[in-house]
C-alpha cells in the first residue's frame, strides 16, 4: 500500500490523524504530512479509515 495525499486540497481537519496517528500528522501550518508513505500491513485498516474520514477526500490509497 502506498499513501498519496493531494495536499493542495487539505483543510487541516485532522480526521486522518485520529484514525491513523502513525501514518498522518499535522504540520505547524495545520496541514497534513504523511509520516509513512508505505505503511506496514498492520496499519492498513487505519489508513483506510483515515481516507474515508477525510472531509475533503485528499487521501488516495494505491494498492
Amino acid at each position: 500500500m502506498r499513501v498519496v495525499v493531494h495536499d493542495d486540497h487539505c483543510i487541516g481537519s485532522g480526521a486522518c490523524v485520529v484514525e491513523a496517528p502513525r501514518v498522518f500528522a499535522l504540520a505547524d501550518s495545520g496541514l497534513v504530512i504523511v509520516l509513512d508513505e508505505e505503511p506496514p500491513v498492520e496499519l492498513h485498516d487505519g489508513v483506510r479509515k483515515a481516507a474515508a474520514a477525510c472531509p475533503v477526500a485528499v487521501i488516495e490509497i494505491v494498492e
Binding site: H9, G12, G14, V18, S29, G30, L31, A52, P55, A57
Partner: protein, 404 residues
Amino acid sequence: MRHVLVEYLHRLSGEYKVPSESVVIVGASAAGCFTAESLRKRGFKGDIVLVGDEPPYDRPPLSKQILRGQWKCEQAYLLPPQRLQAIRVTHHLLDRAVRCDLTSKVIETESGVSIAFDHLVVATGVRPRRPKNANAKGIFTLRTMRDAEALRRAILESRRLVILGAGFIGLEVASSAVQMGADVTVLEQSPQPLAGRIGVTAASYMLEQHALHGVRLLVGTTLSRVLEKQGSDGPELAGVELADGTVLETSLLLIGIGCQPNTEWLTGSGLDLSDGVVCDEYCRAAANVWAAGDVSSWLHLGLGRHLRLEHRTNAFEQGDAVARNIIGKASPYLPVPFFWTEQFNMKLQLAGLRPEGAEEKLEYESDTGFLRSFRMRDRTTGYVALNAAKAMASYRQRLNFGPN
C-alpha cells in the same frame, strides 16, 4: 412495468436473478459525486447514473485559487473522467433534470432523456440569490467555474470592485481581489458582520485584517439602487447608490447575499420543498428518495431540529451517509457541522455551532492564532479556530451531536 416483467421472468425460469438496484443521482457536484464514490466503496453493485449540468469540480477554490489564477480549472476537478469510468458511473453531464415522477420512478432531463430509478438522490445544490432588476453587465454572483473565470477577467480589467454582503463568499472574494491589485469596497447591512456565526472576537480579528489590507468595509448600510448606463450591447453597471444617498462609482459589483435551493424541477413531485428538500433523520424525503448536500434539510436528531448546511464538508459527509443508508440498514445522520474559510493570511475553522447568546471562552492561544469555545447552558456547542488548525484537530473530537 420493468419490475412486473422482472418478477414474471423470475417466476418463469425459477433462477432468473433480480438485477441489482439502480441509483440515479441528480447533481454532479460534491454531494452527488461523493454519493457515487461511497456507494462503490461500500460495495454497491447496481447501476449508478449521475446527472448534472456541469462537470464535477470542487467549489471552495473558486473564490480563492481559481479566482486568483493560481490553479487551472482541472486542479479543481472532483472526479476526473477516468475516475468516473473506474467506478462505473453512467453520466449525463451538461444535461439537467427538469421533471420528476415519483409514482413511475422516472426523471426527465432537459435534453428529453427519461431515466428510471430505484433510488433517487437529490443533490442539486443551491444558487446565489440576486436582487430583482440586477442584470446589468458588470453585476456578478459566484457559484460556478464560469462565474469565477468571468469575475477574474472583470477584476483584472476594472481593478475596482464593490461587494454586496460581508459573508464568507464576499470576504473571500475581497481578499482575493485585493491580492489581485483591486480596490475593494464591501457593503454589509448588519452592524456586526460574521459575529453571529463565529463570535465577536474572531469576527473583529478578521475584519481588522481586511482593513489592514486595504478593504473598505461599510457596515450597517445597504445598496438602495443600482445605477446603469447604456453600453454597446445593453445596460452596463455605472455605480451603486447606498441607503444614505452616497454614490459609489463602479463597473463591477459582486453580490454575496446568500443562496436559494435548486428544487424547481421537483415542483409537483409531492416532496416537501419548504426549505430545500425536507427529509427525515435518514436524509430520506420519501421512500427511496434521498437528499444530500446544500439542498438537503434533514432532521438532526441530536439537535432536535431540521438543519440545512451549505458547507463543503457536509456535502461529503451527507453523500456518504446517503450511500450507507441506501445500501444497508438506515441510521440517522448526526454530524458535527464543520467549515473553514481562508482570507489573506487567515485560516478560520468552525466546528459545531454557535447558538445565539452563547458564552465564549479562550481555550488555546499561540503567537499566530487562537481557539475559542462556545457554551450554552453548560454544554460546549462549538469551537472556532483562527490560524490554529492543529489545535482544532483535537478539540473538534470532543464534540458529539448524538441524541442524548
